[in-house]
C-alpha cells in the first residue's frame, strides 16, 4: 500500500459519521489536503534527498570544521579527527596579528578591487553589447550574438591558459608593444597596485607613503588598501569581463526585447535623441535586469577561483579569499582555517548583496 492509498483520519471519520456525500465535511476537505500534501512530499523527495545529502550536510560539516583544527588526513569521526578549538580559527583570521590574517586580509583587498572594477565594467559592457546586437538595422545579428556569447561557454581553464600565454613576459601582448618601442611590464608577476603606478608617474614614490596612510586596518596599511588592483589582477579583470559579459548580454537582450516597440516609437515622437532614449527610457526600464546582473556579478566575482589558480598560484598580489581558502586547506592542510575563510566570505557576500538590494530597489513602477 502506498501513502496515497492509506485511508486517512478524515476519511475514516466521514465514513463513520455517515454524512451525505454531496456536502464535504470539514474533516473530509482536510483529508484531501493531507493526502495531496503527502503525495507532494513523495514527488519532491528524490530532489530533496540529493539536496540534503550533497548540499545541506556538507555545509553543516564545513561549519563544524571551521570550529576545529583538522589536517584532513584522518576520518571525520575518528578519535584523532578534527579537534574542537571554538572560535580560534575566526580569531586568527580577524583579530590575531600574524601571517594567517595578513594573507586573508590581502586576499580580501585584492578581491575588493577586483569586484569594484569587474562588476561595473561587465555590466556596462554587456548592456552595450546587448543594445548593439538588438539594433533592428544591424546585419549579421546572430553572428555577433554568437561571437559575444562564445567566451561564456568556453572552459575557464582553457581561456585562462590562452590569457597566460598572451600576457607572459615574452608573450604576444609584450611583443606587440615592443614593435611600438614600449617595454611592457611583466604583467602577471608585477605586484604593484595600479594606483601606485599612476602616482609614480606624477612623481610620488609608492615606497614612501604619507604619514596618515601608514596606519593599519585589519593588519594592512591604508597605503596598501588604496593601492588598487595589482597589474596582474587587471589582467584577471579583463579576462573575467570578457568571458562573463556574453552571459549578461543575453539577459539584457531578453529584457530589451520586452521593451515594447510602441514605447520606443513614443520616444521618437516625443523628440528624444538616441542617447536620451537610452538614458531616460531604456535604462530605467531595464532596471530589474540591471539589479539582477549586478547581484549575480557581485556574487560571482567575490568567488573568483579558477583563473587565480591558473594565473598565479602563490602570487599574493592576485590571490583571492576563495583561492586562499583552497590553499589553506589543500596546501597547508589547515582545513579549519580554510573552512572559516569560506564562511567569512559567505557572510561578506550576504551582507553586500543585502545592502545592494536595499540601495537599488528592483521595481520600477
Amino acid at each position: 500500500m502506498t501513502a496515497s492509498q492509506l485511508p486517512t483520519r478524515g476519511e475514516v471519520r466521514s465514513a463513520v459519521t455517515d454524512k451525505p456525500e454531496t456536502v464535504p465535511s470539514r474533516g473530509r476537505r482536510k483529508a484531501v489536503r493531507g493526502t495531496q500534501g503527502r503525495a507532494g512530499w513523495l514527488f519532491v523527495s528524490p530532489a530533496l534527498v540529493i539536496l540534503v545529502l550533497f548540499l545541506v550536510i556538507p555545509i553543516l560539516l564545513a561549519l563544524y570544521i571551521s570550529f576545529t583544527r583538522w589536517t584532513g588526513f584522518t576520518t571525520l569521526f575518528a578519535s584523532n579527527g578534527p579537534k574542537w578549538v571554538g572560535l580560534s580559527n575566526y580569531r586568527q583570521l580577524l583579530t590575531t596579528n600574524g601571517l594567517t590574517r595578513l594573507t586573508f586580509a590581502t586576499a580580501v583587498r585584492n578581491n575588493f578591487w577586483f569586484v569594484v572594477f569587474t562588476v561595473p565594467l561587465q555590466t556596462a559592457l554587456s548592456l552595450g553589447l546587448a543594445v548593439l546586437v538588438n539594433d533592428r538595422f544591424l546585419k549579421g545579428k546572430s553572428f555577433f550574438r554568437t561571437a559575444f556569447y562564445f567566451p561564456s561557454v568556453t572552459g575557464s581553464i582553457a581561456i585562462s591558459l590562452v590569457f597566460l600565454f598572451l600576457f607572459q613576459g615574452n608573450g604576444a601582448i609584450n611583443k606587440i608593444l615592443s614593435t611600438f618601442g614600449i617595454t611592457g611590464p611583466n604583467w602577471l608577476i608585477s605586484t604593484n597596485g595600479v594606483f601606485w603606478n599612476i602616482l609614480s608617474v606624477f612623481g610620488v614614490n609608492p615606497n614612501n607613503p604619507p604619514g596618515w596612510a601608514t596606519h593599519t586596518f585589519w593588519g594592512i596599511r591604508w597605503w596598501d588598501w588604496l593601492a588598487g588592483p595589482s597589474v596582474g589582477m587587471c589582467v584577471v579583470i579583463i579576462l573575467i569581463v570578457w568571458t562573463t559579459s556574453g552571459t549578461y548580454m543575453l539577459m539584457f537582450l531578453a529584457a530589451l526585447q520586452n521593451v515594447s516597440e510602441e514605447v520606443e516609437e513614443a520616444t521618437l515622437i516625443d523628440g528624444a535623441t538616441s542617447w536620451q532614449r537610452f538614458r531616460l527610457v531604456t535604462v530605467p526600464m531595464l532596471r530589474p535586469t540591471v539589479v539582477l546582473v549586478l547581484t549575480l556579478g557581485m556574487m560571482g566575482t567575490w568567488q573568483v577561483f579558477d583563473q587565480i589558480t591558473i594565473f598565479g598560484p602563490n602570487n599574493p598580489s592576485i590571490a583571492t579569499p576563495a583561492y586562499q581558502s583552497y590553499a589553506q586547506s589543500f596546501n597547508n592542510f589547515s582545513f579549519g582555517i580554510g573552512a572559516a575563510m569560506a564562511f567569512l566570505l559567505f557572510l561578506l557576500i550576504v551582507v553586500l548583496t543585502y545592502l545592494q538590494r536595499k540601495l537599488i530597489p528592483e521595481d520600477i513602477t
Binding site: V263, E265, A266, L268, T365
Partner: protein, 372 residues
C-alpha cells in the same frame, strides 16, 4: 493650425513586393477631424505612421502646411501621437509622462508643470499626476496618453486605434470625449480605426481604405452612407452590412427573387450605357420594411418581395432578421432586414417586404463602381 496633404504617397515595406499604401492622395483641412477606416491589412496604420515619420515614404510626399516633411524625423514634424497600447513610460509618473516631450525640448520646469496641470485638468487627471501608469485603470491610462499629446500643443494629432483597449461602455464615452476635445482645441487630427461606428460618429470626413492600401472614398459620414462610391465602401459602412447581390438585368429593373425591382432612371441609363447583363444590387437592412395591409407610402417600391425567416437576432430596440427570398436558393448568403424590435417575426414565417424608394444602390459587378 495645420493642413496635411498626402501627395501620391506610397509605402513599400523592405522585402515586400506589394505596397502597403499605394499612391495615397488625401487632403486634411485645418482643424479637420479625419478618420482613416478600413479592414485589417488595409494599411490605415501605415498611412498614419508615414505621417508620424515612423514609416518611410517610399515615393510621393507628405506635406504639413504645404511643406514636404517626408524626410524629416518625427520630432521635427510638430506632431503628437496616441498609441493603441498607449505606450506610456512605466517608470515615470503621470506628470512626467505628460511633460516628457517638453522636458526634451528644454522647456523650463515651472512652465512644464503649468502646462501639464492644465492638460490634466482638461482630462480630469489632476489627482493622478504623481501616480505611475501601473496604478491607473485602462481608461485613465488612455487619458494620460491623450494628455501627453495635448501638452505639446502640436500642429497635428495622430491617433492609432486609441479606444480599442477599452471596454464597450467606456469606448462610447471616450469616443464623444475625444470628439469634443478635438472640437475645443481645433487641432487637425488624423484618427485610425477599424470600427466603422467610431469612424461615422467621430469624423468630420472619413477616408475608407481597402486591402493593398488603396483609397476608396473620402467624404462626410452622410455621403459615405447615402452614396457609397463602390461596392466595397457600401459593404463596409453601415451595420449590419448592406445586402449586396448579383442580379440579372431585366426590362425595367433587375430580377430579385421572383420579382422585378425597378431601378432609377439614372441607374438604368448607366447600366444600358455599360452594356451590362448583370449588376451588383445593394440594399441596406434598414431600407427594407415590412409591408402590412398595403399601406405603402406614396412612391415606395411595392415589389412583392417575399422573405422566408431563418434567424432572428433581437437587440431590444431592433431585431435583425436573416432569411432568403422566395425564389432564391435557401443556401445563398441570407438577406438581413432591420425590423422593429417590438414585433419580431417568427422563424419560418414568410414576410412581405418592400424596398424604400430610391434607397437601392447599383454597382458594376466587375469594377464595383457605383452606377446609381
Amino acid at each position: 493650425m495645420a493642413t496635411v496633404d498626402y501627395v501620391n504617397a506610397t509605402c513599400v515595406y523592405p522585402g515586400a513586393t506589394a505596397p502597403a499604401i499605394d499612391k495615397l492622395n488625401l487632403e486634411i483641412g485645418d482643424g479637420e477631424f479625419m478618420v482613416l477606416v478600413g479592414p485589417s491589412g488595409s494599411g490605415k496604420s501605415t498611412a498614419l505612421r508615414m505621417l508620424a515619420g515612423l514609416e518611410e515614404v517610399t515615393t510621393g510626399e507628405i506635406q504639413i502646411n504645404g511643406k514636404d516633411v517626408s524626410s524629416k524625423p518625427p520630432k521635427d514634424r510638430d506632431i503628437a501621437m496616441v498609441f493603441q497600447n498607449y505606450a506610456l513610460y512605466p517608470h515615470m509618473t503621470v506628470g512626467d509622462n505628460m511633460g516628457f516631450a517638453l522636458k526634451l525640448a528644454g522647456v523650463s520646469k515651472t512652465e512644464r508643470g503649468a502646462k501639464v496641470r492644465e492638460a490634466a485638468k482638461l482630462l480630469d487627471l489632476e489627482r493622478y499626476l504623481d501616480r505611475k501608469p501601473k496604478a491607473l485603470s485602462g481608461g485613465q491610462r488612455q487619458r494620460v496618453a491623450m494628455g501627453r499629446a495635448i501638452v505639446r500643443e502640436p500642429a497635428v494629432f495622430l491617433m492609432d486605434e486609441p479606444l480599442s483597449n477599452l471596454d464597450a461602455k467606456l469606448r462610447v464615452e471616450t469616443r464623444s470625449h475625444i470628439a469634443q476635445l478635438q472640437a475645443r482645441l481645433g487641432t487637425t487630427t488624423l484618427y485610425v480605426t477599424h470600427d466603422q461606428v467610431e469612424a461615422m460618429t467621430m469624423g468630420h470626413r472619413v477616408a475608407v481604405l481597402r486591402e493593398g492600401g488603396v483609397l476608396q472614398q473620402v467624404d462626410t459620414p452622410r455621403v459615405l452612407y447615402d452614396r457609397p462610391a463602390n461596392a466595397f465602401v457600401a459593404g463596409f459602412i453601415g451595420s449590419p452590412a448592406m445586402n449586396l447581390r448579383e442580379a440579372e438585368v431585366v426590362p425595367g429593373g433587375v430580377q430579385l427573387g421572383n420579382v422585378t425591382l425597378p431601378l432609377s432612371g439614372e441607374a438604368m441609363a448607366a447600366v444600358t450605357k455599360a452594356g451590362l447583363k448583370k449588376v451588383t444590387i445593394g440594399i441596406r437592412p434598414e431600407s427594407i420594411s415590412h409591408e402590412t395591409n398595403g399601406d405603402a407610402p406614396e412612391g415606395d417600391v411595392t415589389s412583392g418581395l417575399k422573405l422566408e425567416v431563418q434567424l432572428v437576432e433581437e437587440l431590444g430596440a431592433d431585431a435583425y432578421v436573416y432569411g432568403h427570398l422566395v425564389g432564391d436558393d435557401p443556401d445563398d448568403t441570407p438577406y438581413v432586414v432591420r425590423f422593429d424590435g417590438r414585433v419580431p417575426p417568427r422563424i419560418g414565417e414568410v414576410l412581405n417586404l418592400r424596398v424604400r424608394n430610391k434607397e437601392e444602390h447599383v454597382f458594376n459587378p466587375e469594377t464595383g463602381e457605383r452606377l446609381g
